[in-house]
Amino acid sequence: MGLILLALVPVFTALTDQSFYLDLVNRLMILAIAALSLNLILGHGGMISFGHAAYLGIGAYCVGIPAYYGVYSGWVHFPLAMGVSALFALLTGAICLRTTGVYFIMITMAFAQMMFFALVSIETYGGDDGLVIEVRSAFDPWLSLEDNVTLYYVTFASLAICLYLMHRIVQSRFGMVIEGAKGNERRMQAIGFNTYRYRLTSYIMSGAMCGFAGALLGNFTNFISPEMMDWMRSGELIFMVVLGGAGSLFGPVLGTAAFILLEEWLSGITLYWQLLFGVILILTVLLNRGGPLRGAKPLAGSK
């Protein structure tokens, strides 16, 4: 079923007389990759990270800061984005993952906010106002992301690859460990798994993938700002995962689509669309009695 949806995407590109839709779906796909990465630790691993937007920001800054110094090569940007994200995930995850439950949520939130404030304070890279990216990533000698259509296809390919990767990871031995640790960590330890290490690994992988999405995002918006990592953005990411059905493969993609399209539609109706949006979000939670972490799947089918 999901494959049909993916197949429809190129159809949209045929409609690209209206570049608006090209942009909309492009942004949707980038955020879908971010949501996919969050799903690994949230949906499959049960780790409620409220700081995932930090990786989007880090990824974007890994494009913007080199560009500021005249380094425009995508071969630098993207690996850097993933590397720095992985490092941040390692350092913060090492601390966060020693906590559980509410502490974990709050600490991930706090670390993301820390990055936000740190970047706001660095005036050289724009501080609060952000930084414009004049030139997009170039993957010499093959292609450059300057062209919107090229960027679109690169994003599309990335999303497809990420979906496939997630599919394999989730079914693998590693995936089983993460899932087991979500269901019953104590048991996992009793049978011999050092759950902390496996969770940290998944946390790092998730951060790296989200950093990659961040690099795409920076290219897409031609602009970087600390706002990208604000904790409210993290909340939106969680919603995208939960709306589509946490723990399923296509759930994050569908959830992101639902979220973005709803946002577009509502903001067209009224200036005060956020109120409606908020109400819808609240109702989604109140009515979803199964609980998102129990694999309830409002939109997507079964795993």
């Binding site: 409620i48 409220f50 601390i95 020693r98 906590t99 439950g101 509410v102 502490y103 949520i105 709050m106 600490i107 939130m109 706090a110 670390f111 906010q113 820390m114 404030f117 740190a118 970047l119 706001v120 304070s121 660095i122 005036e123 050289t124 904790w231 409210m232 909340g235 969680i238 919603f239 939960v242 005060y272 956020q274 109120l275 949006f277 908020g278 109400v279 819808i280 979000l281 609240i282 989604t284 939670v285 109140l286 979803n288 609980g291 998102p292 972490l293």
Partner: protein
């Protein structure tokens, strides 16, 4: 050449920030400690308090009267929120709390915009609060900020008395450790929870309105400070008011002193230019580094509430 006047002033500023954080954090930690509920929208109640006060000050011409009127108003909002949304979620897991209250933030931000417009509102202070007080020969400090400190300490003392020496407080503490027992004993748990939530709302609203004369009431003003409040309760230990108090003062002092003096300190060890770029970023990160450090040694915070 130590500028004592600056150090004392910044110290007091730190304490002022600390008591503000305490007002916010205490409600948050109470609600979590007793109802096991994570309330992201606590910052929205902070904002609502500020706006109510702004309007009441406009209507009555007196800030102090507005203060008194705003508190029951915020309590009412809190009760409404508890009855309509929060109550349905006590049995759910924390993710649901977080998502629902996140939705509430969006609602509150928009509602405030609808009712008060997109611009912020200033709150004028009566003249006698606008001056400075000489607390030591040669060292002056704004009267109003001193008042904030006094109010905060009074509230802290009041909370301590309520929780440890009154019957309501006893019920609150009992409810925290054993819900089923307490309701079996005939205490109406639902009303108790509403009461606690309302109390938390009032504390948050008080914090908002008390700082608004300095910062202005503005949309979304709660969304950034709520994170700091979370840091405070993480450091202090979730569920502990004493922990929130100590952690709040600690965080307030470290943040304020850090911002004021870090670049000066850094200049002693590294070049002035590097210090100037690094200092703001580093001082912004200080409280989070503090949080990480505390967690490294005590993952439950400094004074974890017992028996969860």
């Amino acid at each position: 050449m130590i500028d004592w006047s600056l150090i004392v002033t910044q110290c007091l500023n730190g304490i002022q920030l600390g008591v503000l954080l305490f007002l916010l954090a205490s409600g948050l930690t109470l609600i979590f400690g007793i109802m096991d509920f994570v309330n992201l929208a606590h910052g929205s109640l902070y904002m609502v308090g500020a706006f109510f006060c702004a309007t009441f000050t406009e209507l009555t011409g007196s800030f102090l009267l507005a203060l008194v009127l705003s508190l029951p108003a915020v309590a009412a909002v809190g009760i409404l929120v508890e009855l309509v949304v929060v109550r349905q979620l006590y049995a759910r897991d924390h993710l649901d709390h977080v998502l629902a209250t996140f939705g509430l933030i969006l609602c509150f931000d928009t509602l405030v915009q609808m009712l008060w417009g997109p611009e912020g509102m200033a709150i004028p202070l009566p003249t006698f609060l606008n001056g400075r007080v000489t607390i030591w020969p040669g060292i002056g400090f704004p009267t109003y900020r001193l008042l904030i400190i006094l109010i905060g300490l009074a509230v802290a003392a009041g909370l301590y008395v309520i929780v440890t020496h009154t019957r309501v407080g006893m019920r609150i503490r009992a409810g925290a450790s054993n819900r089923t027992m307490v309701s079996a004993l005939g205490v109406n748990i639902q009303s108790l929870y509403t009461l606690v939530f309302a109390l938390g709302a009032v504390l948050a609203g008080l914090a908002g309105l008390i700082i608004a004369p300095i910062t202005e009431a503005s949309i979304g003003m709660g969304n950034d400070i709520i994170i700091v409040a979370f840091v405070v309760i993480i450091i202090g230990g979730i569920g502990s008011i004493k922990g929130a108090f100590i952690a709040a003062l600690l965080v307030g002092l470290i943040d304020t002193m850090g911002r004021a003096f870090l670049d000066g300190l850094l200049k002693l060890v590294i070049s002035a230019q590097n210090a100037e770029t690094a200092a703001p970023a580093l001082s912004a990160m200080l409280i989070y580094i503090l949080m990480a450090a505390v967690l490294a040694f005590r993952p439950q915070g400094l004074f974890p509430a017992k028996g969860r």
